[in-house]
């Protein structure tokens, strides 16, 4: 049997067995869960050859599964992050209820994402897409009835997107007579103009929903923040990348071949930029870390969309590299929040403070992830951001670059808020009992943090596969020689040499740390955070002076006019209006049998009156 079948069988069987194993023993369930994620991941990377295809026929539709360099790149995100998140999830779900339910859907969504990447035909793509949607939906509503409306919002948006995609798929099938992606791509340039425009739009709707693109992003903050954090790291890190994956395919293989494609790309790029700004502004406002990260995810996905939409080689590299980085750092950050929530029971900045000494490893990974998120050298986020800016500037998107820059500068505010809110501030008696999260949770975070650090100086590790992927999509290969020397270069010939920068930063940093530590070492003492200079007053032990309510208020006051209008409100008004209409419509069924009988007569009479028109 082909490895691809084995992978899916393990996923499926593992999901079912894991679900029921909880009835036998909890540890067995954990082990089964890990096995059913890690073994397929191993098999995938070890045994699935790039370019190999398996074909099968189901329900009279010929399906094809296989992998190319481009999807292999995304499978790195999915299975890599998925495996780490799975390890983390074992720690996270310890002692939680409904573990079987969670594990089942976790495995299924990983399977679905793998399936999406393996699909070479539209039907299995759609099937896996929908499985991914509902399994992630089921995890989103894991926390019970208070998240019901959030979950339904997520599902409705996903469904609208997916159904748009379904329309596109069947239209493609109508035109080409085949469901294979390759056939679609071949037939696309010869299609009628309206099809050439509508098919990508409908595909992009589906992908835009998953990639949380404005104005389809309103589900994302709620869904990201209410799913269990062990899953949200996958949700935001990997699942949203499926939207990016599809978007890239549509843009590169279809839209680029028509002259109107430039409009698609401009519009998408701007939507991405606006998404970034909106996400950032709202993230700054949040007092709940989950919400903050959720909005931040929306913003980060905006950058990625912009990069992909610009579509030059550098921009593609930037977008895809940012996608990988986003998976890493947002995965880590959601895990951090999960660990904190697990240890303290809350994820609200106004409640938890001063955990830095209680959870040092968690803090370290959070710190590195935040630095990467903010795009500050020498971590990986900078490489992506740099390439994004350079590609925007060199492709003359000078206003867009300002928008993006504004978003990423404002991102510092929430970056700092995140770190400060949890780890800084006064250490409280209330949280004195808090311990570092168990190793099984800390380890995945640290591994990812390490990756971010390495990628900041040696981005070639990821840029090489990206390059392969781009070549598979038909891009030239103008930057390949750089990765070994860890230089990033734009198309005007300006560059950043990463290695000396890392060494300089490390050298300077270590020198001054040494200076600060060594100088007067004997007379330097550690004092508690209660011992602060607050006009001679001594804060009591149970008194918390940490500044955490209304944290970024000055900034908010400056941007408030822009934030009064929420897209969400319009959607809600629309939904309310619809429901009112439905309520009105169903009053046709009056409940009076005679009325119904009269309807019959009326029906007949109307038919008879319009018979010449109808028949």
């Amino acid at each position: 049997m082909n490895t691809i079948y084995i992978i899916f069988l393990i996923f499926l069987g593992g999901a079912v067995f894991t679900y029921f194993a909880g009835k036998i023993h909890k540890v067995l369930q954990d082990i089964l869960f890990l096995v059913s994620i890690l073994v397929p991941a191993y098999l995938f990377f070890a045994n699935v050859e790039i370019g190999q295809n398996v074909n099968l026929t189901l329900g009279g539709i010929s399906l094809s599964w296989g992998i190319n360099y481009f999807s292999w790149l995304f499978s790195l995100i999915v299975l890599g992050l998925g495996s780490l998140a799975a390890i983390y999830a074992v720690g996270f779900m310890k002692g939680e209820k409904r573990r079987g339910y969670f594990y089942f859907n976790f495995i299924l969504s990983i399977m679905a994402m793998t399936g999406i990447l393996l699909s070479r035909d539209l039907v299995s793509f759609f099937v896996f897409w929908e499985i991914m949607t509902w399994s992630s939906y089921l995890i989103t509503i894991y926390n019970g009835n208070k998240v019901q409306s959030i979950g339904i919002k997520y599902f409705v948006f996903s469904a609208i997107g997916a159904y748009a995609m379904l329309m596109a798929i069947v239209m493609v099938h109508h035109i080409t007579g085949s469901f294979l992606i390759g056939d679609m791509i071949h037939a696309y340039p010869a299609m009628a103009l309206s099809m050439q425009i509508w098919i990508p739009i409908m595909f992009l709707m589906a992908f835009g929903v998953k990639a949380a693109m404005m104005p389809l992003h309103v589900w994302a903050p709620g869904a990201y923040s209410n799913a269990p954090m062990a899953y949200t790291s996958v949700f935001s890190g990997a699942l949203s990348k499926m939207g990016i994956y599809g978007m890239t395919l549509v843009l590169v293989t279809m839209v680029n071949h028509i002259p109107q494609g430039v409009w698609f790309r401009e519009v998408l790029a701007w939507l991405g930029g606006i998404t970034a700004v909106i996400g950032t502004l709202w993230a700054i406002q949040q007092d709940d870390a989950k919400k903050l990260l959720a909005y931040s995810s929306v913003a980060q996905l905006g950058y990625i969309i912009t990069g992909i939409a610009i579509g030059t080689e550098l921009a593609m590299l930037a977008g895809l590299f940012l996608a990988v980085m986003h998976a890493l750092f947002k995965g880590t950050l959601f895990m951090v929040v999960g660990a904190i929530e697990k240890q303290t029971g809350t994820s609200n900045f106004t409640e938890v403070t001063g955990l830095i000494r209680k959870m040092p490893w968690t803090f370290l990974s959070a710190l590195l992830a935040i630095i990467a998120l903010a795009g500050i050298p020498p971590l990986g986020g900078f490489v992506g951001k740099w390439m994004l800016y350079e590609s925007l500037i060199t492709s003359n998107h000078y206003l867009l670059v300002i928008v993006i820059f504004f978003a990423s500068t404002a991102a510092f505010l929430y970056c700092y808020k995140f770190l400060f809110g949890f780890f800084m501030g006064q250490e409280e008696k209330e949280w004195a009992h808090v311990k570092e999260a168990p190793a099984v949770m800390v380890l995945p975070m640290l591994i990812m943090a390490l990756f971010m650090l390495v990628l900041g100086t040696f981005p070639g590790i990821i840029l090489n596969p990206i390059n392969h992927g781009l070549q598979a999509l038909g891009y030239a290969d103008s930057y390949k020689h750089l990765w070994d020397t860890s230089i990033i270069l734009n198309s005007w010939g300006n560059k950043v040499v990463l290695q000396p920068i890392l060494y300089s930063i490390a050298g300077i940093f270590l020198f001054f740390i040494a200076f600060l530590t060594w100088k007067g070492y004997k007379n330097t003492r550690f004092i508690s955070t209660k011992d602060i200079s607050s006009s001679g007053e001594v804060p009591k032990e149970d008194e918390n002076l940490t500044f955490s309510v209304g944290f970024m208020q000055p900034f908010y006051r400056a941007v408030e006019p822009a934030m009064r209008r929420q897209i969400d409100k319009y959607y809600n008004a629309f939904a309310d209006g619809l429901e009112a209409t439905f309520e009105f419509l169903r009053r046709i069924y009056t409940g009076n049998g005679q009325t119904y009988a009269i309807y019959v007569i009326v029906f007949v009479v109307v038919m008879l009156l319009f018979k010449d028109f109808l028949f």
Binding site: W386, F412, M424, K519, R525, I532, S534, F555
Partner: protein
């Protein structure tokens, strides 16, 4: 290896020069302020005495490891950006790393320090620090907009993102960019007012209101590091402006003249104004300075 050593020695030399010049400029600022206020004022070397005193404080306290990291991060920013910005053209003693990074890199390394410092200040647990930091970061978002507008205008006009490239442009044409791209210069200078956070943009460290904000728990060696870093950073900023808009400097005298002339803009402006609230300053930066930035981009696109 030898090259590395040479680089390191050069970097140390640059650092010393930057330190001295920055400190002196700080002292001169105090002196000028005093003279304007009809005072005698401290000697111009007063800042040296202050830092020396801070360095010679016998004891120090800290609230955790991040309080060490914060000033160190600040220093990383100052020194790294010093290494990226070409101090003197055609001078073998200041080789630096300026071919290893470009303007975008510089922009990002310049926010590295404030964020690191913010972390250090955050761990002290003093609410005043956090308040100061929120103000500082918000204000940063404000002035980055005109600043980046100006820089993007330069980049797209001259098709280079590197500082050296922009200096080469000026050397070639013989015209300073402040004349050939006046709007960019105006926007950048207005942004510089925010960068120096002198009055009216000094709400960040308002001493009486929030007890000097981020620095409120730092004394002794920590404050020393922060002050030195600030001085070096002031020098870096001035040099960067000189490089970008005034054609750079061949020797140290020209550099000093140009930087001092530039430095007088925020200093003198601060003497005539009173403090803005944070949102007021943000809105100020998004008003005229950004307008000039947009004009600069327009100019860059048209010409």
């Amino acid at each position: 290896m030898e090259e590395v050593l040479y680089n390191v020695l050069g970097a140390i030399a640059t650092f010393l020069v930057a330190f001295v010049v920055g400190m002196t400029y700080g002292g001169l600022n105090r002196k000028i302020t005093a003279r304007v206020q009809n005072r005698k004022g401290p000697p111009f070397y007063q800042n040296f005495i202050d830092t020396l005193k801070l360095a010679s404080k016998k004891s120090a306290i800290h609230h955790g490891v991040m309080q060490h990291f914060g000033p160190a991060f600040l220093m990383v920013t100052s020194v790294m950006s010093l290494l990226i910005v070409p101090v003197l053209t055609h001078n073998q003693w200041f080789p630096n790393l300026n071919f290893h990074g470009d303007l975008i890199f510089l922009l990002y390394i310049m926010v590295f320090g404030p964020l690191g410092m913010a972390l250090g200040a955050g761990q002290t647990g003093n609410p005043n620090s956090a308040i100061g930091i929120t103000r500082g970061l918000s204000q940063m978002v404000g002035y980055e907009i005109p600043w980046v507008l100006a820089l993007v205008a330069l980049m797209i006009q001259y098709h280079t993102t590197s500082i050296v490239g922009l200096m080469a442009v000026q050397a070639q044409s013989g015209t300073w960019l402040m004349f050939s791209s006046p709007f960019a210069f105006i926007a950048a200078v207005m942004a510089m007012l925010g960068m120096f956070s002198y009055s009216p943009f000094d709400v960040v460290i308002a001493p009486a209101e929030i007890a000097s904000g981020p620095a409120s728990e730092n004394g002794g060696k920590y404050l020393f590091t922060m002050m030195s870093s600030g001085s070096v950073f002031a020098f870096v900023k001035l040099t960067l402006y000189v490089d970008l808009f005034m054609g750079g400097a061949d020797n140290i005298v020209i550099l000093l003249v140009k930087t001092f002339a530039l430095y007088m803009i925020p200093v003198l402006y601060s003497l005539t104004t009173v403090r803005y609230r944070t949102e007021q300053s943000i809105r100020w930066f998004w008003g005229w300075p950004s307008f000039f930035g947009l004009l600069a981009i327009l100019q860059a696109v048209i010409f």
